[in-house]
Amino acid sequence: MREYLDYIIETIVFICGMLSIVFVVLIFSFLLKEGLSFFKDFSFVKFITNQFWYPSSTPLSFGILSLICGSVLVTLGACLIAVPIGVMSALFIAEIAPKGVRDILKSLVELMTAIPSVVIGFVGMVTVVPLVKNIFNLPTGLSAFSGSIMLGFMAMPTIVTISEDAIRSIPWQYKEGALALGATKWQALRRIILKAAMPGIIAAIMLGIGRVIGETMAVMMITGNAAHVPHSIFDPIRTMTATIAAEMGETVRGGVHYKSLFAIGLVLFLITFVVNFVADLFLGKNKNL
């Protein structure tokens, strides 16, 4: 009887364990199914290389190049802000800050993750957007630049936390060795610790990028939603995520427009899959140290 129960439990627990795989496969195949039925009528190459996104006017045109450009531009901008600041504060928190304040600093950085992205979007709309408009004398502050600033700060906790873990996981002998040779603490940090922690830091950056590419609400509220290829970072843009969120409500269920949004979802899924996979590889590298 007891063995019987053990067997049943083991089976249930095993099925639950397998569910993660089931869900990933299910999500992928679902996007693929809808996406493929879209690509039957519209070529995939044209989909990603055409810049005109006119999903409901005649003639129809489904090109997401401008949306890809929008996503890439915002992500690059966010990285330019989040990576230097994030890695530097990770170094500070891990190696320089006194032990007592270390956890407080880290919690304060992580506080950002507890703020819902609509709230961040709203605050960006009423603060950063008018500020950017006035400082740079633009017709509108709703731009890739404003989006980059807010998204940069949203990616910060991911980058700081994971980089900090990577820096702290470096064996102390590395630093002691350098110090014993007469290096200053800063030289040891910069030349030894930072280099040794690099795989973990790269993983942190990749995960930060994954977060920025997938971000939807804040980006939709701040970047202006103009589907065209941007000429500068001060142009209004539109990302892939914002397109899905903004247009799904007005589509006919099962129609071409509906399917085209699933096709965008499929592209997004593939991008984040690769980004997370690479991040995971680098994280694994760090552990073998």
Partner: protein, 284 residues
């Protein structure tokens, strides 16, 4: 080029790193300050307990609070048992083989899928295929899949932190594997699992994109009666009133943002205090 002495360059770099840290922390404090300062005046008992009026421009936000509460609670009820079972499998039963590595990879990728893609998936499968319609249950199912990796990871860490000797002592007395897990491992891991669950409740309360096409409605004049009803949700409501409605009084937007933020933050703080408390009272 001027070469700085090592001592001086160390000092300068430390100052730079310190300023970067300040820069990483200040924005979140500014955001919180702005919302509290401008939103506090809108908060009243009436604001929290009455229906919106005049096309949302006055009145309260009760249906949005109730809706969010309903969706989140349903999602947790669905995801918690599955997540904990999966964690038990990974930590107690799984061998280090190919299948386990695939499961771990799946969890990592599930955690990385953009929230709006979950929304698409939920729309396609729960709303359309299973014909649940735009409803609390469709939104909750969508959110529960999204939260699964978080629950699995935190529960697994909690199970992992229970010392191996506990299990061995129990097994050596002839107790079966499941009984060991049920009576020894799970009770000791419970605090950790609870903390992780509370944190994930905080996180999904603020999510908008996954419920955008699966559960949320622009305006519903009554409170939900069953899990198959469409509801208003706090994050979606904030999105609507801050972007879609012209001449919206600013203090109501700030007030709604404040309620949402305080809801998420207070749930998170409960989790953090619980963690500190349980760490202090741990038996090992």
């Amino acid at each position: 080029m001027i070469r700085l002495s090592p001592k001086l360059s160390q000092k300068l770099s430390y100052i730079l790193l310190f300023m970067a840290t300040i820069l990483a922390i200040v924005p979140v404090l500014v955001i919180m300050f702005l919302i509290v300062k401008n939103g506090a005046s809108a908060i009243s008992w009436e604001f929290l307990t009455s229906m919106p009026k005049d096309g949302m421009r006055s009145g309260g936000i009760l249906p949005a609070i109730v809706g969010t509460f309903a969706i989140v609670m349903c999602a947790v009820v669905i995801t918690l048992p599955i997540g904990v079972c999966a964690a038990i499998y990974l930590n107690e039963y799984a061998k280090d083989n190919f299948l386990t590595r695939v499961i771990k990879l799946a969890i990592v990728n599930l955690a990385g899928i953009p929230s709006v893609v979950y929304g698409l998936f939920g729309l396609g499968i729960f709303v359309m295929f299973f014909k649940l319609g735009v409803s609390i249950i469709a939104g909750a199912l969508t959110l529960s899949i999204m939260e699964l990796p978080v629950i699995i990871t935190t529960s697994r860490n909690a199970l992992n932190s229970v010392p191996k000797s506990f299990r061995e002592a129990s097994l050596s007395l002839g107790v079966s594997r499941w009984q060991t897990i049920r009576h020894i491992v799970l009770p000791n891991a419970l605090p950790g699992i609870l903390t992780g669950t509370i944190l994930s409740i905080a996180r999904i309360s603020g999510e908008t994109a996954p419920i955008l096409f699966t559960a949320a409605a622009f305006y519903v004049p009554h409170l939900p009666k069953s899990i198959f009803d469409q509801v208003m949700a706090l994050p979606y409501h904030l999105y609507i009133i801050s972007t879609q409605i012209p001449n919206m009084p600013k203090n109501i937007i700030y007030g709604t943002a404040l309620v949402l933020m305080m809801m998420v933050l207070s749930i998170s703080f409960v989790a953090i205090f619980a963690r500190v408390y349980f760490r202090k009272h741990r038996k090992w």
